[in-house]
């Protein structure tokens, strides 16, 4: 097991290297950061050149990548444009935890992302909880009543949910729970932001504002998970040890929830791990619609203004999360399921 973990971790390193390379090449043409810097228009040619030099954009691509990855404090760079490199660089590079400085507000990228990350995380964790708990209930229910009217109805609804674009779910749920409920004089849900500025950022406020975004993020994955649980549950229910448990005279609830569900819910660990990219992507759209101040909205805002260090920082962070989660998934799965043993 120990060797397996080390092997998986070592495989992650070249993967992240490839990812960073692809992303860095894509960054080359997302726009001219100098043209939009801080909303100021740089008119003089000389200023333009100087800014490009300060940002290191005059360097060849491979050097730019090296500086981004390893930093440039080990070499001298030319800042005044006289062709002589005399100033020692100050960047420490991604490998040493320096993601650079935002071009928009001159704050370190880590700080910029760090402010928004918790807001996205609470959305993700809440959605994941809703998805897993809901999918377990629905999946077990439809597995136990296979091909009944309810099962078919649930299947149809899940297919619709699965085919819904997140923004359409969001718009419909906003319309029903905010607009219509307000019209009917019912207590209605808020649609914008994280808390009511007048009430302040209290836990109750944040929870109340979270309901609709979480619903929108959950719906698509919820459908996939429920189908998955339904099929693993059906498979497990047909196995010999379940028949033994039944014939022993155990109560049905005990057979279903203790004997069967325990094994049937194992594979869901894999799905949770593989589903992370989908959830993160869903967060981008959801945060935009609900004006939720998370990382997804940060990304969209900074893409608009070509703030390369922040864009690159978010992309790397997201990819790192995906890679790490996949490794964790494999490890947790092997640890949970004694039938699987990874050798070597």
């Amino acid at each position: 097991m120990g060797r397996y973990i080390i092997k998986r971790l070592l495989q992650g390193i070249p993967l992240l290297f490839f990812i960073s390379l692809i992303l860095f090449l894509l960054m080359l043409n997302v726009g001219d950061p100098v043209a939009t810097m801080g909303g100021r228009r740089v008119t003089r040619r000389a200023d333009y050149e100087r800014l490009r030099r300060q940002l290191g954009l005059d360097q060849p691509v491979y050097l730019q990548y090296a500086y981004w990855l390893l930093g440039n404090d080990w070499t001298k760079i030319d800042l005044d444009g006289d062709g002589v490199a005399e100033t020692t660089g100050t960047r420490r590079g991604v490998l040493r935890g320096d993601l650079g400085i935002s071009l928009l507000n001159r704050k370190p990228v880590i700080e910029v992302i760090g402010e928004r990350l918790p807001n996205t995380l609470i959305l993700m964790v809440a959605s994941e909880l809703v998805i897993v708990i809901g999918a377990l209930l629905v999946g077990v229910f439809s597995a136990l009543r296979q091909y009944s009217i309810m099962d078919n109805l649930i299947t149809a609804i899940l297919f619709i949910g699965y085919s819904m674009p997140i923004f359409f779910v969001a718009l419909i749920s906003m319309f029903i729970f905010a607009v219509l409920f307000k019209r009917w004089g019912l207590p209605y849900l808020p649609t914008v932001g994280m808390f009511d500025p007048q009430a302040g950022k209290t836990t109750a406020q944040v929870l109340w504002h979270m309901v609709l975004p979480v619903l929108s993020i959950s719906i698509i994955s919820f459908a996939a998970y429920s189908r998955y649980i339904r099929s693993t549950m059906l498979e497990v229910m047909g196995q010999d040890y379940i028949r033994t448990a039944k014939s022993k005279g155990l109560p049905r609830s005990e057979v279903v929830f203790i004997h069967a569900l325990k094994n049937a819910s194992l594979p869901i660990v894999t799905v949770i791990g593989l589903d992370l990219p989908l959830l993160l992507g869903g967060a981008v759209v959801t945060e935009r619609i609900f004006a939720w101040p998370g990382m997804g909205r940060l990304f969209l805002d900074h893409v608009d203004r070509v703030d390369m260090p922040v864009i690159m920082g978010i992309l790397m962070l997201v990819s790192l999360a995906v890679v790490v989660f996949q490794i964790l998934t494999d490890i947790v799965y092997a640890w949970l399921d004694p039938r699987i043993r990874y050798e070597k």
């Binding site: 070249p14 993967l15 490839f18 990812i19 390379l21 692809i22 992303l23 894509l26 960054m27 080359l28 043409n29 997302v30 726009g31 297919f159 619709i160 699965y162 085919s163 819904m164 674009p165 997140i166 923004f167 359409f168 969001a170 718009l171 419909i172 906003m174 319309f175 905010a178 607009v179 649609t191 189908r227 339904r230 099929s231 059906l234 498979e235 992370l276 990219p277 989908l278 993160l280 992507g281 981008v284 759209v285 935009r288 619609i289 990304f299 969209l300 893409v303 864009i311 978010i314 992309l315 997201v318 990819s319 995906v322 890679v323 996949q326």
Partner: protein, 293 residues
Amino acid sequence: MGQLVWRRFRRHKMAIFGAVTLILLFIYSIGGALIFPESYANFADTPLRLTAPNLQHPFGTDTIGRDVLARTIYGGQISLMIGMLAVLIEVVLGILVGALAGYYGGIVDSILMRITEAMLNIPEIFLLIVMAKFFGGEIPEVDLFGRTFSGSVIVIVLIIGLTSWMYLARIVRAQFLSLKENDFVLAARATGTSNFEIIFRHILPNSIAPIIVSATLGVANAILAEAYISFLGLGVQPPTATWGNMLDGANNYLESAPWLWFFPGLLILLTVLSINFLGDGLRDALDPHSRAA
């Protein structure tokens, strides 16, 4: 073989429902164009902006007074076209990468699969946004089929194709890995058939079933991807309508003009849903062993 597939497909009621709905949607967006000219779909009747659905404008009008019904028709053409063209790119790329990696193995396989894996690990929507910026900028308009399209249509097709080939490449690679060990490949090689011919004339036709299924479902994903990227304002630029960009900014009119977002959203949902049903049925019909559940 064909008959057997058809019989299995026919049994799948949801797939038939999907196929019929899809045909209706095509009739809607292509036949509708015979009733309303494109200039009508782009005509802004400003005094009538944000009119609720009525007899003259069954789906209402948008923020600058264009008829929403006519725009969903022309938007449907573009959305469906983007979906299919993007999948064409996806399939070509996926087959090429998967076939090369699976057939040659070794170093080719390692490099191609590392790139595939790297692309898979960047969540799709982030990749789409960055690529939209990368290939964006000033694009001239294009004339095609006697109509003028915003050049962004081509860009969107390209980026959706470029961000979605990875799953298909993996499927094709797995097929090639197992098929290339078969005797017929050995026989082809022994008779001096070129690698090119073995790949495309001997192995590829044998792995066509999963490719068809995956491509069908790919159309649904491509239409969704177009909707997402256009919804975020980075997709197809107006006046060319798509179901996605008709929704851009619609959340500002959530309360005052729900018809703005309801009809295009519903059409996207119907299309994606029927393609998913169709793909599901095709999988059961073409490849009955692939399904566990």
